[in-house]
C-alpha cells in the first residue's frame, strides 16, 4: 500500500541525498587552505563597514501584506469555483459579489500603493 505522500517524501529524500552526496564528493576532492583575506566578505576591496542585518524598509512588509490579502482571497475563491455551477444563478451572483469586493481592493491597491510610486521607488 503506497500513499501519495510517500512519493512526495521520496522525492524530497532523493533531493536531500543527492545534494549531500554532491557536497561530500566535493568535500573529499577540494583543497582547504583558508587565509585571513579569503575569509573576508566579498563586497569590495576596502575593509567591510557595518553589518548587513539592518532594519528593512517597511515597504517590503507592505508587499507581503498585499500578497497575504490576495493569496487568502484566492484560497477562499477556490471552493466557490469548484461548486458554483451547482447553485445556478444565485451561486454565480454570490461569488461575483465577493469578487467585486476583491476588485475594489485591486482598484484601491492601484490608486494608493502602486500609482503614487513611492512604494516601488523605495524597493530599489
Amino acid at each position: 500500500m503506497s500513499h501519495d505522500l510517500q512519493y512526495i517524501v521520496a522525492f524530497i529524500l532523493v533531493a536531500v541525498l543527492f545534494s549531500i552526496v554532491a557536497l561530500l564528493t566535493a568535500w573529499l576532492l577540494r583543497p582547504n587552505r583558508p587565509t585571513f583575506e579569503k575569509l573576508q566578505v566579498y563586497e569590495c576591496g576596502e575593509e567591510t563597514q557595518g553589518v548587513p542585518y539592518i532594519k528593512y524598509n517597511v515597504r517590503f512588509y507592505v508587499v507581503a501584506l498585499l500578497y497575504l490579502v490576495f493569496g487568502v482571497e484566492l484560497v477562499l475563491v477556490i471552493p466557490w469555483v469548484a461548486s458554483y455551477l451547482e447553485y445556478g444563478l444565485f451561486g454565480l451572483i454570490l461569488g461575483l459579489f465577493f469578487l467585486i469586493i476583491l476588485g475594489v481592493g485591486i482598484v484601491y491597491e492601484w490608486k494608493k500603493v502602486i500609482s503614487t510610486g513611492s512604494l516601488m521607488r523605495m524597493l530599489l
Partner: protein, 352 residues
C-alpha cells in the same frame, strides 16, 4: 490500508523517485551549454568550442572544475544556514517534479492537487534564497534575497489567477487529468479551449491566449530569469543571493535554477500546450504497438518543454533587465488586473 509503512515498498518508491534526477542532470548540462551557444549566436560570437566536439563537454568540465574548488565560508557567515540554503533550494526545485506529468504512465505522484502542490513546494525555493542571503553576512546578498522574496511573492498571484481560471474551465487540479483532457489533436489543446466544451470554446480562446502569456511571464519571474533576474543583477548586486557561494554549493544553485526552468515550462505545457499529448495521433496506435505510445509521449513532453526553455533563453539574451519598481509595476498594475478580469469572464462564460 492494511500496512502503514513498508520499508521495501519505500525503497521501490525511492527508485521511482530517482528517475527525474537521471533526466535533470543531463538536461541542466546541455541547457547551460545551449544557453552559452545561443547567446553566442545572438551576439555574433563563437561561444564554447574547445572542450570536446563543438564544445559539447564544456559544462561537464565546468562541473568537474567546480568540484575541486575550495569552499570558502566567510568569517561572519551563519555556517549551518549557509550549508542548508542550497539543499533547501534544490529540494524545492526537485520536489516540483513529483507532480509533472512526463507520460500517462510515469508521473511522480498522481495527486489530485498536483498544480497547487507545485506552487506550494516552490515556496521552498523562496525560503532557501532568503536563507542564503541572510546567512551570507553580505549586504549584496541580503538585498538580493529581499528583492527575490518580494518578487516571488508578488508573481505568485498572477500564477494563481491563471491556475484557478483553468480550474474553472476544467474542474481539475490533477496535471495528468488535465493532459488527458487535451487528447487526440492540436485543436483540443488548452490554448484552443479544452475538449468537450462546444460553442464556449470560441468565447474562451482569446482569453486563454492572454492567460498563457500571463502564466509564461509570471513563471519566468518566479524562476528569476532575465528580464526579471533582479535577485542576481550583476550590474548592481555582485551576484545577488549567491555572491558568497563557491564550489559545489554554487553548482547546486545553478542546477536548481535550470531544473526550475524546465519545471515551469512543463507547467505551461501541461496547462496550455497539450501536456504530453501529440498534436496529431500516435505512431504506436497506428502500428498497434501499445508500448510505443508512452515513449512518444515522453518525447513530445520533452520537446515542448525544451522549446519553451529555448524561448526563455532567447528572451534572456534579447531583453534588458527591468528596474525594481518597473518589475513590481508589471505585476501589480498589469498582470494581476488582467488575470482578475479574465477569471471573472471565464466564470461567467462557464455559467452560460
Amino acid at each position: 490500508m492494511t500496512t502503514i509503512f513498508n520499508v521495501w515498498d519505500f525503497l521501490l518508491i525511492l527508485l521511482y523517485a530517482i528517475i527525474p534526477l537521471a533526466y535533470i542532470i543531463p538536461f541542466a548540462l546541455m541547457a547551460v551549454y545551449a544557453e552559452r551557444k545561443i547567446s553566442a549566436w545572438i551576439q555574433n560570437r563563437v561561444g564554447p568550442n574547445r572542450t570536446g566536439p563543438i564544445g559539447l563537454f564544456q559544462t561537464t568540465a565546468d562541473i568537474l572544475k567546480l568540484m575541486q574548488k575550495e569552499d570558502i565560508v566567510a568569517n561572519g557567515a551563519d555556517k549551518k544556514l549557509f550549508l542548508l540554503a542550497p539543499i533547501v533550494v534544490f529540494i524545492g526545485s526537485y520536489a516540483a517534479y513529483a507532480a509533472l506529468p512526463f507520460t500517462s504512465v510515469y508521473i511522480g505522484t498522481n495527486i489530485n492537487l498536483g498544480v497547487l502542490y507545485m506552487v506550494a513546494i516552490s515556496g521552498f525555493v523562496v525560503a532557501g534564497i532568503i536563507f542564503a542571503g541572510w546567512a551570507s553576512d553580505n549586504k549584496y546578498s541580503i538585498m538580493g534575497s529581499l528583492r527575490s522574496a518580494a518578487q516571488l511573492v508578488s508573481y505568485e498571484i498572477p500564477t494563481l489567477f491563471v491556475i484557478i481560471s483553468i480550474f474553472a474551465i476544467t474542474q481539475q487540479f490533477n496535471l495528468r487529468e488535465l493532459s488527458e483532457m487535451q487528447t487526440s489533436n492540436i485543436l483540443n489543446w488548452g490554448i484552443f479551449g479544452f475538449d468537450g466544451l462546444g460553442y464556449k470554446r470560441i468565447l474562451l480562446i482569446p482569453v486563454l491566449f492572454v492567460l498563457m502569456i500571463i502564466l509564461f511571464i509570471s513563471t519566468l519571474a518566479e524562476v528569476n530569469r532575465t528580464p526579471f533576474d533582479l535577485p542576481e543583477a550583476e550590474s548592481e548586486l555582485v551576484a545577488g543571493f549567491h555572491t558568497e557561494y563557491s564550489g559545489m554549493k554554487f553548482a547546486l544553485f545553478f542546477l536548481s535554477e535550470y531544473a526550475n526552468m524546465f519545471a515551469v515550462s512543463g507547467l505551461v505545457t501541461a496547462f496550455f500546450l497539450g501536456g504530453y499529448q501529440s498534436p496529431f495521433g500516435y505512431l504506436g496506435n497506428l502500428l498497434g504497438l501499445s508500448w510505443l505510445v508512452p515513449i512518444e509521449q515522453v518525447l513530445w513532453f520533452l520537446t515542448k518543454g525544451i522549446l519553451l526553455v529555448c524561448v526563455q533563453i532567447w528572451m534572456r539574451w534579447s531583453l534588458p533587465r527591468l528596474r525594481m519598481d518597473q518589475l513590481m509595476r508589471v505585476c501589480w498594475k498589469y498582470l494581476i488586473p488582467i488575470g482578475f478580469v479574465c477569471f471573472i469572464y471565464i466564470t461567467i462564460v462557464m455559467y452560460l
